[in-house]
């Protein structure tokens, strides 16, 4: 009863402002946003803030444990791990962001087509089911390996692996929105099907998509690392979080710091994105609204 009362009071404000207010009250969102912003800044300013050249070999400084000079230690080529992690943030974040964008575009086109045009629904969704039958990480490894190691191919592989689920989410929200009265009203006013879809249905399906893409971003960073570990990640010498770990594995007992620090960097980035996603979900995803 009390909740109903509060809702009518809020209804006079615009939905965007309500969503923003609620986001700024969400602890998950604020902590997540702070972490993601911090990592993004590190990636952007990598050239400025990294103490050394991440690619410079130096035999004299090889396998140095963390000290005042090399905070995260050095690897077997004498390269500074801190500088490599800072530059690695760049490639890892680019891969994560591009994967989220690509899977978002492909997922929206495919999911919206399936959800809005009933003739395509069954064939498209069975195809998505089939793609989802392969474990996503194995599919990504196979595609990345077949296409050959490069940053772009890793992005393509991860997008293929994360796209079916995204399409399913878009389709689900399109199905719900399609049945609402204002869609009928837009049609009655003579709007074309495509216009109805783009102007009325998709904006209303946006919330769950944004939430999903935040998680895809996080998943892509984890998956990039796994791909590098298997050996089909972005090629050396440019560092990514995953490739630093992969190179450190051979020195795990004598120089564990090579492996430890990029792993922690992954945790911080993924944790930030997951928190951001949780905060967004609480506010944007209608299924979660109370």
């Amino acid at each position: 009863m009390s909740v109903a009362v509060l809702k009518t009071e809020q209804a006079t404000r615009s939905p965007t402002i309500i969503a923003l207010t609620r986001l700024l009250q969400s602890r998950s969102f604020l902590i997540g946003a702070a972490l993601v912003l911090a990592i993004a800044l590190v990636a952007l300013l990598a050239d400025v803030i990294s103490p050394y050249d991440p690619l410079r070999n130096s035999f004299r400084t090889r396998l140095r444990p963390p000290d005042a000079m090399f905070w995260f230690g050095t690897d077997h080529f004498g390269r500074d791990i801190l500088s490599r992690v800072i530059h690695g943030a760049r490639i890892s974040l680019i891969i994560g962001l591009m994967t989220a964008l690509l899977t978002g575009i492909a997922g929206t086109i495919i999911g919206a087509t399936a959800g809005f045009f009933p003739v395509f629904d069954n064939p498209i969704m069975r195809l998505m089911d089939a793609l989802m039958a392969f474990p996503a990480i194995v599919l990504a490894i196979a595609v990345a390996s077949v296409l050959g190691a490069s940053v772009v191919n890793v992005i393509i592989a991860l997008s293929i692996a994360t796209m079916p689920h995204t399409a399913r989410i878009v389709r689900a929200s399109v199905l719900v929105v399609r049945e609402r009265e204002f869609i009928e009203a837009a049609r009655a006013l003579g709007a074309s099907e495509l216009r109805v879809l783009c102007r009325h249905v998709l904006p209303n399906a946006f919330g769950p998509l944004i939430v999903r893409l935040t998680y895809v971003f996080a998943t892509a960073i984890l998956a990039e690392a796994a791909l590098s570990f298997i050996g089909v990640g972005p090629p050396p010498p440019a560092p990514s979080f995953g490739s630093i770990i992969a190179q450190g594995r051979d020195f795990i007992t004598e120089a564990p710091w090579i492996t430890i620090f990029p792993g922690l960097a992954i945790i911080v980035s993924v944790l930030g994105l997951n928190l951001l996603g949780d905060g967004l979900r609480d506010v944007l995803d209608p299924r979660m609204r109370t």
Binding site: A130, F134, A142, A225, F229, V232, I260
Partner: protein, 314 residues
Amino acid sequence: MAQFLVKRLVGSFVVLVLVSLMAFAIIWLVPGDPTSAFLDTGATPDQIASLRQQLGLDRPMAVQMLEWYGRIVQGDLGHSILLNRSVTAAIIERLPVTLSLAGLALVFAVVLGVLAGIVAAVHHNKWPDQVVMTLALFGLSVPDFWLGIMLILLFAVKLGFFPTGGYVPFSEDIVGWARAIIMPAMTLAVIQVGFVARMTRASMLEILNQDFIRTADAKGLKRAEIMLRHGLPNALIPILTVGGIVAGALLGGAVIIEQVFSIPGVGRLIIGGILSRDYPVIQGGLLFLAVIYLSVNLVVDILYAVADPRVRLE
């Protein structure tokens, strides 16, 4: 119920046909000639032609596809070029290893995840909830292979509690099996424990807000009785539906974890196949994983119908 089952079976069959087509089609993605991976650059045209013939690549795509379907319905996944043996036999030989790894991880994920989720839901917004949810979030944010490396470093290299890797068959030495499998299974389960805990909590919280919980409260039942007899059975239904997702993720995760702990399972076979471009192994391995995934989901759907009487009627 029968109608429900038939519908599900037909649906799975259609997806299976598509899945096998995709597994076959991965060869089309390859830039250049698939044989190049196995032959030196100095190979004579004769050698290439003979390998192409051996792989069946000289025939039209449609024929190759028909042959592929003809073989897989008999359970023949082809012949590995590098291992020089039947892919089916290689998978079957390694299957118990992967199943014991993924199976044990599933047990960990479900038991720990559901327990943690219930604790969090019962103490909603109090400290046990916050502790469980923080841990779950960390579980979801840790790269599993990295965690595996860290555990090896700590428990195998430094403390010597467990071997650094390898596998001992259950039938040979149970203790050895347990020592070899516990750490990989825990590593594999960590992400899924976090996932299941979050799902269980959300599901329990939703159920605990339902009218029939108030009815149970009006009956004067104890809090624990309400949770276990009315809350959990209803909350488990949505959790069951993510069982398929969890099983799929464990299957994929096992492929990576086998690599970390040097466990000779199906995953290592497939990764080896992928890295050496041994196409029959890639195609057969992918198809095999997908079939397992589809079977698990079919079982989950049936269990779902058993758990929720409402589904049976539809």
